[in-house]
């Protein structure tokens, strides 16, 4: 066990050294120059990026969770396989293709970017909502029914709390992918940090490239950590304990 820990520790140290070397190299060569030379332009792009992610992400969350709940009700179970298959197919289609298709239909602009990203973010949340509700312990459902909880009470008090972990994992995956894919929004005229990345590529200008790519990476990591924090607040304590006891038993 301690040997494994030493290896993990060494890998971590090497990783951080690589990152520090990378940043020293960047600052020595002034490769992030656009961030501090054009702060208003930078903030503008960053805000654009965040707005695209926030709008498409929140619409995706607000659509996917209710849809997942509806599809797991007994009445609609027979349609579930169809939707799950569509979802699986949808997830195989590359993000660039989704954006390009939407642009082909809706034309160039931020609106197309938001619609495309919404569609792309929908699937992981929907999939995890359905999987989460399916993974609810049958015994607790039986007990809840037997004690006279109404279907709505069972949903709120038993199903959703137990599925919350999985749903949240879906939201996290979806938002992180969304942040990255939003960089492609530039290609269909949606703005965002992608503007500098692609300008950098087209002009062979490393400073532009990194002034876009480095903040984008940091944004993605930030969203990931933020979601982890929110997960801690939203997922009920008892569920977290249950997860822990399961992993400890393995």
């Amino acid at each position: 066990m301690s040997k494994n820990k030493t290896i993990a520790f060494t890998v971590k140290i090497l990783f951080w050294i690589a990152i520090i070397v990378f940043f020293i190299w960047i600052f020595k060569n002034d490769l992030l120059i656009h961030v501090y030379q054009e702060p208003s332009r930078f903030l503008n792009l960053l805000t654009q990026h965040i707005i695209i992610v926030l709008i498409s992400g929140s619409i995706a969350i607000l659509t996917a969770i209710p849809l997942g709940i509806i599809l797991t009700r007994t009445k609609f179970r027979k349609w579930e396989w169809l939707l799950v298959n569509i979802v699986n197919l949808g997830q195989t289609i590359p993000s660039l293709a989704v954006l390009a298709l939407i642009m082909g239909i809706l034309g160039i602009g931020m609106k197309s970017a938001i619609v495309g990203l919404f569609l792309f973010s929908l699937l992981p949340i929907l999939q995890n909502t359905i999987a989460g509700i399916h993974s609810v312990d049958e015994k607790t459902l039986d007990a809840a029914k037997g004690m006279g909880l109404t279907p709505l009470q069972i949903l709120w008090k038993v199903e959703l709390p137990q599925a919350s972990y999985s749903i949240f994992a879906g939201i996290r995956t979806s938002l992180v992918i969304n942040v990255g894919t939003a960089a492609l929004a530039y290609l269909i005229g949606g703005g965002g940090l992608g503007v500098w990345i692609f300008t950098g590529i087209q002009l062979f200008d490393n400073a532009f490239l990194l002034s876009g790519a480095v903040p984008l990476t940091i944004l993605a990591l930030l969203v990931d950590y933020l979601c982890k924090g929110l997960e801690f607040l939203i997922v009920p304590k008892g569920i977290r304990l249950a997860k822990q006891s399961v992993t400890n038993n393995n």
């Binding site: 660039l96 293709a97 995890n128 999987a131 960089a183 590529i201 490393n206 990194l210 790519a213 990476t217």
Partner: protein
């Protein structure tokens, strides 16, 4: 996995440009290899690690060596998950491969790229649809292989998706 693919490509270019390989095939290749490693390694590890301890115990109990246990018990049982990892990685790679056209790596993404710069929507849609079909076809074939390699019908919901 948290690092966006386009950002990884973007960071790769300046680093590789120091050895004169900035734009083109190499950064795309390295990014794709890095990305495909993660789902495969993660799923292989999860598949072997999550094996029912009783099964491993039984394998030890009937006197299998570590290698026999790995080849005859652990890998076959982890196969559905390993294949799922390979599928995820491949589909992901086709997607990133399309983006790689923008850093001059060629491929179907070129159709989308040029279609956008020439505002030729037919070209964009043809590019997008052909990339999608490629991804779907490859995924379907891998799924068939996965089903063949799955010893028992394992519950689909148990795939690792976080």
């Amino acid at each position: 996995m948290t690092i966006p693919s386009i950002a990884l490509l973007g960071i790769m270019i300046p680093i590789l440009s120091t050895i004169g390989q900035g734009i083109g095939f190499l950064p795309a290749f390295i990014a794709l290899v890095l990305y495909s490693q993660l789902p495969i390694i993660r799923n292989t590890y999860a598949g072997i690690n999550n094996l029912d301890p009783n099964i491993r115990d039984a394998a030890n109990g009937i006197g299998m060596s570590t290698w026999q246990r790995l080849l005859k018990v652990e890998i076959p049982n982890a196969m559905p998950l390993i294949m799922a990892g390979i599928r995820t990685a491949t589909v992901l790679n086709i997607g990133i491969g399309a983006i790689a056209a923008f850093i001059g790596a060629g491929g179907l993404g070129v159709l989308i790229n040029q279609g956008i710069s020439r505002t030729n929507s037919t070209m964009v849609i043809v590019g997008a649809i052909s990339v999608s079909i490629l991804a779907i076809v490859v995924d379907t074939i891998l799924k068939m292989i996965q089903n063949k390699l799955t010893p028992i019908k394992v519950n689909q919901h148990k795939e690792v998706s976080s």
